[in-house]
């Protein structure tokens, strides 16, 4: 059990630091910390152009959605980066518990995703005058964590697909595009075609954004219990499916000798 936790925590942190070149401040700050704010500004002004919703509506939606940027690319690179550095075979040749190995890589990504999403709220407050009751901050932080968890689960799935396909950035990009269009980030769900609305119900972020908007308007945690639990459930399902696919593709890769080839 001690080994499990060692691989989970220490292995995860070392892997995170080693694999992400953007951990350097010169890359991390413009890409992940300023990125969400610039996205929020763009969509808030686009919303003004369309006379669609208030600035706050766009701040909450885009800030929560920006967790997917860090989570999808983070988890994708956590797997694909091993191939780039030619350490994938060595990592998968170890007898280490796979749950500890992969979930350990997911934890720093989750925390980072929550930090990235939080910067969006700060940027919105500084540049667009976004305000909400101070009493709502803990609940909103919880919802951001839930969204980050769900996105990390989806990221695990992206990482697993990366074991079979090259160009993980493309897969992560396309997945992020789907979230941006479908999940009510910038277009109210009731303005989307019915099939898009239905698809959004099964995607991460949709329910967290819905709950976060209500909480930012002053609602309590109890009143958003259903969307919060749905987000948690979706995250768990994506994480589980992603982990199972990782195991499956790992076994297939070993059998066919294609781990480093993808």
């Amino acid at each position: 059990m001690r080994t499990w936790f060692r691989i989970f925590f220490i292995g995860g942190v070392i892997s995170f630091r080693a694999l992400f070149s953007w951990i350097r401040p010169s890359v991390y700050i413009p890409t992940l910390l300023l990125g969400p704010t610039t996205q929020i500004l763009f969509f808030a002004y686009l919303g003004r152009t369309a006379h669609l919703k208030s600035d706050s509506w766009f701040v909450v939606g885009n800030a929560v959605q920006s967790a997917s940027l860090a989570a999808l690319f983070g988890m994708g690179f956590a797997i694909d980066g091993e191939r780039w550095t030619q350490t994938l075979s060595a990592v998968l040749a170890t007898p280490a518990n796979r749950a500890a190995l992969f979930l350990g890589r997911a934890l720093p990504v989750l925390v980072n995703a929550a930090v990235v999403a939080s910067t969006g709220f700060v940027g919105g407050a500084l540049l667009l005058g976004f305000r909400m009751p101070w009493s709502s901050v803990p609940t909103l932080a919880l919802l951001v964590l839930l969204a980050s968890f769900a996105c990390t689960g989806l990221g695990m799935l992206v990482g697993a697909v990366g074991l079979r396909m090259r160009d993980v950035p493309i897969i992560a990009n396309l997945t992020m595009a789907v979230l941006l269009i479908f999940c009510g980030v910038n277009v109210p769900l009731d303005k989307l075609p019915h099939w898009m609305h239905m698809t959004a119900e099964g995607l991460p972020v949709t329910h967290a954004i819905d709950a976060a908007r209500r909480v930012a308007a002053g609602a309590s945690l109890g009143s958003v219990e259903t969307p919060a639990l749905t987000e948690l459930g979706l995250g768990a399902v994506y994480l589980l499916v992603g982990f199972m696919l990782l195991r499956l593709f790992e076994l297939q890769g070993r059998r066919h000798g294609t781990l480093d080839r993808a």
Partner: protein, 256 residues
């Protein structure tokens, strides 16, 4: 004449090379569809928004800037990774003649975004594709591409000493979209944004393309595009000369 030949050969080579890159093609042809879809859905949801053709053209030019922001800033870094930067610098050809075709080719890849966005808008959202001045429209696209590509050259030159250039350049994607009137009218932005927008080629490239399609004076934005292209080239040449010498002095040219 020799310079034109070097530029054209480099441009064709890099355009073909970039067209074979799945990442660049996703950035050029698919991402603009995402923003076009969002703009269509947002504009369609209310009756006070600009027309869908306005949105389609804006999203199309956004694609040109996307490819430039994503890759032009890191163009030098890319040569460094491939291990050919020192060879390029040592070649008797001026570095700007090697670099300019790369950044202009990167912007030109964005032409795919114009095709894909207009087609997407027509097929899925029924956006009318009526172009007021077809000839001027055909002229305004290469003018926009050239000026945006040369802005990319200016970025690349500025970042020659900066290892994380490509990431910083990518961070400029949304800000430039926001302040150059691609989807958001400049009149909605704070007054101090105006002078910054006027110094940026995407503002005038967008204006030329949109006016050629929807109607209005195309000559002025085309002339400003040309003037900005010249200004960017001169500035880039000066910066490249300075930074190249600095990198040689410090022996940091090939350091990644």
């Amino acid at each position: 004449m020799k310079a034109a030949r070097i530029f054209w050969t480099g441009f064709v080579l890099h355009f073909k090379n970039l067209s074979a890159s799945p990442f660049m093609m996703t950035t050029a042809a698919i991402w603009p569809l995402v923003y076009a879809t969002l703009a269509f859905l947002m504009f369609r949801a209310t009756h006070q928004a600009p027309s869908l053709l306005y949105a389609a053209l804006g999203a199309a030019v956004m694609g040109i800037w996307s490819t430039t922001a994503t890759s032009a800033g890191g163009a030098i870094q890319q040569q460094r990774w491939w291990g050919i930067l020192e060879i390029l610098v040592a070649a008797p050809t001026r570095l700007i003649l090697v670099l300019a075709p790369i950044t202009v080719a990167i912007a030109a890849i964005g032409v795919y975004s114009i095709g894909s966005t207009l087609l997407w808008g027509r097929l899925l959202f029924g956006v009318p594709l009526h172009v007021s001045h077809p000839l001027l429209f055909a002229v305004s696209i290469p003018a926009a591409v050239l000026s945006i590509g040369l802005l990319g050259l200016l970025l690349a030159s500025t970042f020659v000493l900066y290892r994380s250039a490509s990431h910083l350049s990518q961070a400029l994607e949304y800000p430039i979209w926001t302040i150059t009137g691609m989807l958001i009218p400049l009149s909605l932005l704070p007054g101090w944004v105006g002078p910054i927008a006027w110094a940026l080629a995407p503002t005038w490239g967008m204006r030329a393309v949109r006016r050629a399609a929807i109607g209005g004076d195309v000559g002025t934005p085309l002339l400003v595009c040309a003037a900005l292209s010249v200004a960017y080239t001169i500035l880039a040449a000066l910066l490249l000369h300075h930074f190249e010498r600095l990198a040689r002095d410090r022996a940091t040219l090939s350091l990644t």
